[in-house]
Amino acid sequence: MTAGQGGEAPTPPAPGLSGAVAVPGLRRRSRLLDRVSRHVLLAGAGINVVLVVLVVIFLLSRAWPTITDIGLGSFFGSTTWDPDAGIGFGVGMFGALAPIIGSFAVVLLALLIAVPFALAVAVFITDTNPRVGERFIRPAVEVFVGIPSVVYGYIGFIALLPLLRNIAPPGREGSGILAAGIVLAIMVIPTIATISADGLYAVPRALKEGSAALGATQWQTIRRVLLPAARASIVSGIVLGFARAMGEALAVALVIGDVNVIPSVTKDGLGALLQPFTTMTVTITDGVDKLAINPEGTAARYMLAVVLLLVTFLAIILVRLAARGRRGSRA
């Protein structure tokens, strides 16, 4: 299409491939649409950033009163948590040490249980029984993932707690760190297993063959070559499982008892695992009905959320740094 110059009449547009005449307006419209759509799509992707920023801003701003009114010292240093006492009169206590300890204790136990099982699943799928693994175990893992967390909590409540009640000292409900750890472990196994399996798949066949050619048994190859080679994936899977477990609220709430007293290991030994306790997420959840009416308690809960986020992000960043460092040192 050439534009007319001066007083010349514009040349008619040339026919297109199919013999149809190319319409100048249509071309321009398509180009405009192309440009507009690009920006719209960018906006769609950009909303992610907007949301992250918003989340950070709002969480921090709602948590701020903790620093000003309550003081970080008493927040992290005290274990007395009684946020709803005398609402509005400022006599509530906001020591959050107990829930923080509880979160770590529960998640640690969960990982201790989950990691061996997750690795077993990963090794099963990739090495010892790949056919059965792909056809049955992978779909089973997906079903595991799909079950809502409340249902896990509910099953824990109606099935696991009665079981634990039998081995707990009389008078106990069976709820506590052990119950929560078991429930979380089951929830987190699929995450760790899937990522570890991907890492195991990626180990080059040549390494497996090299080990076999030297006379190693299947297990020796798995233990000495495959698992170490997939170490990066396995660690990243564990960290992701850690993050998930840290953030789980309702399933834990249903089986942990929600009592803000740190169980005493020195007094009860292993029985401490069967004492009702709490975590950060549970403490946040049990204030859900008073969010509007208890500003200080709410601020403290937002602070807990901030702590939760910081712990999660820290773990993920550590893993990314470690992965980059290892990749850099390879000659």
């Binding site: 690009r38 719209v40 992707a45 175990i137 799909g146 409340v150």
Partner: protein, 293 residues
Amino acid sequence: MNRRLRRNNSIAIGVVRGMVLLLVALLVWMIVLMLSKGWSELTRGGFYTSVPNIGGPGGGIGPQLFNTIYVLVLSMLIVLPIGLAGGIFFAEYAGTGRVTNLLRRASETLATLPSIVVGLFGYAFFVQATNSHPSRLAAALSLTVINLPYVVRISEDALRALPPALREGSLGLGATRWQTVSRVLVPAALPALITGAIIAAGRVFGEAAAILFTGSNFSLTAHSNYSLNPFDSGDTLAVDLYVFRIQAEPNVVTDARQYADGVAAVLVLAVLLFNVGARLLGRAAVRRLQRTA
């Protein structure tokens, strides 16, 4: 020497297999437990239509079921277009520069947020900042925050999985980028996109923590009575299960326990259906791709 090695080998592999077997048995047992306990409720027609009646028989999950579907549809309507847009951007338009990196990092960060934190944010932003009360719209918006990274990733993967010949063919005929995307690529990726949508819907179905903070009114008895107003609050099934535990005493009142079993059974059933549905569609997607390749 060799005998010991062989024995260790057999033992170790046996242990691995045993552990996996244990997990599978656990899964089966959990599903069977839930379905069997809730069976009497599941098969009672009135269960799906009547309102809860704690302390007495004959209650149902009518309003909660309605709310769940309502919130599901609402949140899908919001998150699918935005997520698809983001996914298209990453797959077709994005470069490898700093901006793209930032966007990707943001999406990944969003994905790591625990749902309870999203719930708190949802309360602060969608409820408090707008000077309103918990509503199903707020719940749907919070669910968007949770699901957005997932939908973006699914969309991007679906588009990237398409054979480059498709793209090149369209561009080679003089189509613009947008025409290629809208007329050729998205339709071709549709099965994979639908599968992803179903999985995302499954996650919404089971989500409780975020909705608890943004859309719930914490009681089983106050309902929205099947209202269509997005600004009304309401409990979904998953929230219901949790709230119920707090409010009622399942150890004491047997009907209450039965009710909870029914709710749990419905949730488990829904998960299985979503899973099977997504899997069947996944297979159709693969077959479709092979035909266009």
